[in-house]
């Protein structure tokens, strides 16, 4: 700011001092990071993993595999890395300049952008077989050299260039010149582009790739108009296409889970039912259960040698049938698995309907039934739409239950899997199937938005809502309680089966009790060299814990920063930003899985088969949940809290750290727990991404199931459930509670 006054005494104000200083500590930090990445850390990815640190004693820094970029250049290798040096050096020249200086912002923007472009260009242009594109060979001749995926060095340089760019943009005055906000936006955009848009785009394009390379619409069409995808055979007694099967199943599951979820929510909030806590616990249990485990329990109950089947056929003297395998089995299993999700969505909405609205309706002479139908139910519309959408997408993406129970009922998610891992290995077909799947879920997503429109359903008023929810009319109340009761008992039996099944020698054949499965899975031996984890499950178990523990906080961080940007900042392109970050929510795990292996098994990002790809996939699969949790609680915190922090001289980073974050603890907890649990129970994306070295619990269990080793599978799943219960408790203790008194009002809105 050009202050024209010359009187030095009057220039004492702190604001003045703040804007005068021309040091840019944050920029210096990121430049340092870049230089460290370039000169000290290994540029390329290391096979044993960076954090094994084996490379330190294996020829570093001179060995070509472990050398930092600077040393590679110095020894005449990989000359295409040299221009990056320029991009890292140029910002140093303007460090002393003030941020309002045009030279400062232009230099940072130019070097950051050009550096990133060059980094991407060399990464995509030069791969493990020299030039990646034929036209490059034609242009420059054979390269005679090659490179692998980027490693820690490359990553740090990329980050440094990105934030140099955002510093430049901020200095130009974007978002009021706020370095933190512009940097956060840049960071989120970059990772979403790299880990959502890039792989999805790559997967979609591979649907057009013909046998010998090259693109072809004919190939796409032949795969797309396949009878196995769109056939109507089932109407005439044959088999229908997987696309119709998936769609029908998803609509069915979406509706069923929504209805039952609503029944539960109403039972808990609007009836005189006394054991509400119990009901809540029962419904939340399936969330910490790997989804296909329910399918297993169903087999134990209703399968060919299931207890109920055997009992009934003995009673009636009929032959046991395989009725469970196919649509009925999948539908029951998915309904059991996803109803709790619908319940959780709906309970918030049902409780959120302001009692004063309902009381007002009643004072206007509406009967209880009228009130429910004309006021309460319409106000729950957003919750119902959300719950349906969730059920729809979960069902579309579910992989475990159809695999275990599917029989002849083909669905897209399993078809994708078999296209990739089966004998046919047909990447193009998998991509086409994924496209169809993606089309369905995105359409549902879009339809939901259209349905809700821009109407506001917010009913939480600023002032504390005294008043109580009216009870449901008696008849409805009884109906709801009996449905809920039946369902709860059913769920309890299924879970009982799971625990019981884990102790049975061989289900249906030899029902003696045994610890055998636990011993096989989790035995430990003590000898002179310490503990030896001899159980078959330990490997995948520790991997799962490790990956879930790394992924959970990352998910929470990315999700909450995104939520902060969406609720508290305005910037150009915010709508597309929101869409981009929410997109991965509508992308089924199976699609994420296949696109990740397609996109990340070649440089520049070569992480297939490592733990990193698992962590990354979990972060982006679960990020939307973090975002939603964050948005929900941030809108509850009055904006004037942030604003007063800003007027008190805190910058947006300090405001985020000291005001928003502490008040967000419940959201943080939710995001942490959810992403941890999902990382431990997820299967749809994981099944594509695991490797011999990084096997996850769920894929290990599925493997056991495929070998008909049900006992071990169920024992392992039971152990997982116990671990997750513990983990939820630990997280709760770690995050702690926000210390705020009762009377404080988080006045929403102004």
């Amino acid at each position: 700011m050009g202050r024209r006054s010359v009187d030095p005494a009057s220039v004492k104000s702190l604001a003045e001092l703040r804007t005068r200083r021309a040091t840019h500590p944050n920029l210096i930090l990121w430049l340092t990071v870049g230089w460290v990445g370039y000169c000290i850390l290994p540029w390329y990815g290391i096979e044993d993993g960076f954090f094994s640190f084996g490379w330190l004693f294996d020829g570093y820094p001179l060995d070509e595999d472990y050398a930092p970029a600077a040393i590679l250049i110095a020894s005449g290798e990989k000359p295409w890395l040299a221009p990056l040096l320029l991009a890292l050096a140029a910002p140093l020249a303007v460090l002393r300049r003030h941020k309002t200086d045009a030279a400062y912002s232009l230099t940072l923007m130019a070097t950051g952008a050009l550096g990133l472009i060059w980094l991407a260009a060399q990464g995509f242009g030069i791969g493990i077989r020299g030039y990646s594109f034929d036209w490059l060979n034609l242009l420059f001749g054979e390269l005679g050299d090659r490179q692998f995926g980027m490693g820690m060095g490359g990553l740090l340089v990329a980050a440094s260039l990105l934030f140099t760019l955002t510093h430049g943009i901020a200095a130009r005055g974007a978002v009021n010149g706020d370095v933190f906000v512009v940097g956060a936006i840049g960071g989120v955009v970059a990772i979403v582009a790299a880990f959502v848009f890039f792989p999805i785009g790559k997967m979609l394009s591979s649907a057009f790739v013909a046998e010998g390379g090259g693109y072809s619409a004919v190939v796409f069409a032949s795969k797309f108009f396949d009878d196995r995808l769109w056939g109507f055979g089932c109407l005439t007694g044959g088999r229908c296409g997987a696309a119709w099967n998936s769609l029908f199943l998803a609509v069915l599951i979406g509706s069923l889970t929504t209805v039952i979820g609503l029944v539960f929510a109403l039972a808990v909030t609007r009836t005189g039912f006394r054991h509400k806590k119990l009901l809540r616990a029962l419904t939340v249990l399936p969330i910490i259960t790997p989804p296909f485990v329910i399918g297993l329990a169903l087999i134990l109950l209703f399968g060919l040698s299931g207890s109920v089947t055997v009992f009934v056929s003995d009673l009636l003297g009929t032959q046991p049938t395989r009725w469970l395998y196919g649509l009925p089995g999948i539908a029951i299993a998915q309904t059991l698995a996803y109803t709790p999700i619908a319940f959780l969505v709906l309970i918030g909405v049902v409780e959120g309907v302001s009692p004063s609205m309902e009381e007002a309706a009643q004072t206007l002479r509406a009967s209880k039934w009228h009130t429910f139908r004309t006021v309460s139910l319409p106000l729950m519309r957003p919750g119902i739409a959300n719950a349906f959408l969730l059920g729809f997408i979960e069902s579309m993406a579910d992989f475990g239950n159809p695999l275990v129970l599917g029989g002849n009922y083909d669905v897209l998610s399993t078809e994708i899997f078999f296209a990739i891992v089966g004998a046919q290995y047909d990447q193009g077909r998998a991509a086409v199937l994924a496209m169809v799947l993606l089309f369905f879920t995105l359409s549902a997503f879009y339809a939901q938005r259209r349905f809700l429109g821009r109407k506001s359903y917010t009913t939480i008023a600023g002032k504390g809502d005294a008043g109580i929810h009216p009870l449901l009319p008696r008849g409805l109340s009884i109906a709801i309680l009996s449905i809920a009761g039946f369902w709860a008992v059913f769920t309890a039996i299924v879970y009982g089966m799971i625990v019981y099944g884990s102790f049975v020698e061989l289900w249906g054949v030899n029902n003696t009790m045994t610890f055998k499965h636990y011993v096989t899975a989790f035995s430990v031996k003590f000898n002179e060299s310490g503990i030896r984890w001899t159980g078959a499950a330990w490997d995948s178990f520790w991997t799962t814990i490790k990956i879930a523990t790394i992924a959970a906080p990352l998910t929470a961080v990315v999700g909450l920063i995104t939520a902060y940007l969406l609720t508290r900042q305005t910037f150009p392109g915010k709508n597309s930003f929101e869409f981009g970050t929410m997109l991965s929510f509508a992308i089924p795990g199976t699609v994420i899985g296949i696109s990740y292996i397609l996109a990340f098994n070649v440089p520049p990002i070569e992480i297939t088969g490592t733990g990193v790809i698992l962590v990354v996939s979990f972060v982006f699969r679960n990020m939307p949940v973090g975002v939603r949790a964050g948005i929900a609680s941030m809108t509850q915190i009055d904006r004037s809290l942030d604003e007063s922090s800003l007027t008190l001289g805190a910058n947006s980073w300090n405001t985020f750290r000291k005001i928003v974050l502490p008040l967000l603890r419940p959201a943080i907890l939710a995001a942490l727990v959810f992403s941890f649990v999902r990382a431990m129970t997820a299967i749809s994306a994981v099944i594509f991404l695991v490797s011999a070295e990084y096997d996850m619990a769920t894929s290990y269990i599925i493997g056991r199931v495929e070998n008909n080793d049900y006992g071990l599978a169920i024992a392992y799943a039971t152990a997982l459930i116990a671990v997750m219960l513990t983990a939820v408790g630990v997280f709760q203790a770690l995050v702690g509670r926000v210390r705020i008194g009762r009377r404080t009002d988080f006045v929403p809105g102004r």
Binding site: S5, L646, T647, G741
Partner: protein, 357 residues
């Protein structure tokens, strides 16, 4: 008031042709010009939705003007974010951080101001002393009464010794008695520390009581600026006349103007008063209820239609040929009776001529 170590660094504030248009085309502030002097308490007064809060937020840096410039001291801060402006604001909702104690709340801004730990503690204590809340340091905001919370919010802003201190309807959550007390406290602190304070309210009595100067706003624009007396005695138009202490707006005719003095007639009753630049023709006469003389010897004809006893005085509604007039009278011993016909005149000073709408 103890003046323990907190001093003002007051600076003047100017808005130059400031316009703020929100997305969707709502013009919340329309070409506003303001010059606020150092160490003055200026109120922004106006009906709901007229742009007071937006004006304040523009000064605080929480909004950017669509066009125009904002100056604090003699530097142009138009593009400076709130963080970097030397302005503190007391929010209507107080915006105390619920997860921090009173002491932590008050020290919050100081930690970003480059003070040492012990100095922060000193200053925070001095701030709490100033608002009479010593000993409350370890409480949480939720453990304070509304008035105490309000004072913490004031202390939190004061300790930063800002160039400008902004209040957005700071008293609207308090009951009538507390409101009077806190308002006097704020005024006393402002005088003692010689602070530049901009104060938003829509309570005209509050504005008249505390301000050095009042800015009346209407429809996103400034209607009039002046000292309380000026606004009361010489409103520029009927909106201001009516908004600042009720006024009867009577139709009148200016017969002739001579030497700055206008001779007007109201329903045949002649009266002389300063012309304020108006020329002969029809105009409006603003007369405060207390300036109406009832049962005079000369005046226009009217009839008492309603008489209300409110303790210290009588309130009358009187029907004249051109409409109803509201009048008050101190004589409660011998009230006029409803239906009584009488002549109505004006006191020798008080009525003001304003242009006809």
């Amino acid at each position: 008031m103890v003046q323990a170590g907190i001093a003002g660094k007051a600076a003047p504030v100017s808005l130059k042709d400031v316009t703020k248009t929100f997305a969707g085309g709502v013009v919340a502030v329309d070409n506003v010009n303001l010059d606020i002097d150092t160490a003055k308490l200026v109120t922004l007064l106006g009906p709901s939705g007229c742009g007071k809060t937006t004006t304040l937020r523009l000064i605080a840096g929480l909004e950017r003007p669509t066009s125009g410039r904002v100056l604090i001291g003699d530097s142009d801060v138009t593009n400076l974010p709130a963080t970097d402006r030397d302005v503190a604001m007391v929010f209507q909702s107080y915006a105390l951080f619920p997860h921090m104690t009173v002491a932590e709340n008050v020290s919050y801004g100081l930690t970003f101001s480059g003070y040492g730990k012990s100095e922060i503690r000193e200053r925070a204590r001095a701030g709490l002393d100033l608002v009479g809340l010593r000993g409350f340091e370890t409480r949480l905001p939720s453990e304070l009464s509304g008035g105490q919370q309000q004072r913490v919010a004031v202390a939190r802003a004061l300790v930063l010794e800002p160039q400008v201190l902004l209040f957005d309807e700071p008293l609207s959550n308090l009951d009538a008695k507390l409101r009077r007390q806190v308002r006097d406290d704020i005024r006393a602190i402002q005088r003692d520390l010689k602070l530049t304070v901009i104060y938003v309210t829509h309570d005209q009595e509050e504005a008249l009581a505390v301000s050095d100067e009042i800015v009346v706003m209407r429809n996103a624009a400034v209607a009039q600026t002046g000292t309380p007396r000026e606004l009361y005695d010489a409103p520029v138009d009927s909106f201001v006349a009516d908004f600042i202490g009720e006024a009867n707006l009577l139709p009148c005719v200016i017969e002739h103007v001579y030497d700055g003095l206008a001779a007007v007639t109201v329903d045949g009753y002649g009266y002389d008063l300063p012309a304020r630049g108006l020329s002969p023709g029809s105009a409006t006469l603003a007369v405060r209820p207390s300036r109406i003389v009832l049962d005079a010897d000369v005046g226009f004809e009217a009839e008492v239609s309603k008489a209300t006893y409110v303790g210290v005085r009588m309130e009358y509604t009187i029907n004249a040929s051109f409409g109803a007039i509201f009048a008050v009278h101190d004589d409660v011993q011998a009230p006029l009776s409803v239906g009584q016909r009488l002549k109505v005149a004006f006191a020798s000073s008080g009525p003001v001529l304003i242009p006809k709408e």
